[in-house]
Symmetry: C5
Subunit: 77 residues, 5 copies
């Protein structure tokens, strides 16, 4: 998993029906890794330092019906 | 997921039968990440700023029969 | 798999229920690769040089119910 | 997916039985990304500009019994 | 897949039971990509130039019960 920070919410006016209701969070990383767009699973919001899981195993558990490849699974203090 | 821009359509005269009918979009990224070729799931076109999902979980939901590894799942305004 | 070193434990006050009870270890790499957060499967602790497996196949075997994408599967002397 | 060029065929005198009969193509990329070794699914050859799919979803459709992680699924003119 | 060279064997005194009996090979790459630790499936040894497959599809075929994410599937001359 990666630790990053929620930069802002992203609104996609057009999206796959499987993403309906999903909150899309843009995640930035301190080490300059490319920005990642993740769906939220823990109520994270702008400015939160978060844990992001990628990979089909993790995403399949957290968001079995959602076509996402990255999910916010934790919030650090 | 990644946010990129549709650079152009790609036509492959020879392709695996599973890609028949798939629209192939070349995606470029502002941060200089390598170009990615994605199949379209939302009617995206040249110049659109889009959300691209990779990973078997997301692709399996959006394009269960298509041998692709990246799908355009959203269009940003 | 990757060989890295356990930098420290990470506590996430808010997390997905599937991570309840999981020990989160921050892994650093000698070659300067980005830090990775992994769940522990072998009792590793701070300072240990460890083997980290990623990928849904490996994680699915070691942590079938946990939404993680990286697991510590070995400790080197 | 990625667009690259077939650099040359690779012969592996010793290989896992699941790769018997598989044509191994070394793929190079214009942007200097690391070389990738892919199995062929469309009759590609040296010098062809090709589409390469990675990821378990795509590979599982094209080469269900072959232990490969990258398949050539298209040839560009 | 990637073509690399077996640098040395790695012994992990503590490891997940699923790795019992697995031979762990450290793989280095000419292009300076980060070192990778792979399990062996073809009898490769130190100094051999090898083909390494990653990805759950390939690993699942070659090592269905082993929590690894990279397997040596071929030896080049």
């Amino acid at each position: 998993m990666l630790v990053g920070r929620v930069s802002h919410n992203v609104v996609a006016p057009t999206k796959h029906p499987g993403l309906a209701g999903a909150k899309l969070l843009m995640i930035s990383f301190d080490d300059g890794s490319p920005l990642l767009l993740a769906t939220d699973a823990v109520g994270a919001g702008e400015g939160d330092r978060v844990v992001v899981a990628t990979g089909s195993h993790a995403v399949g558990i957290v968001a079995p019906e959602t076509p996402t490849d990255a999910v916010v699974v934790g919030i650090l203090d």
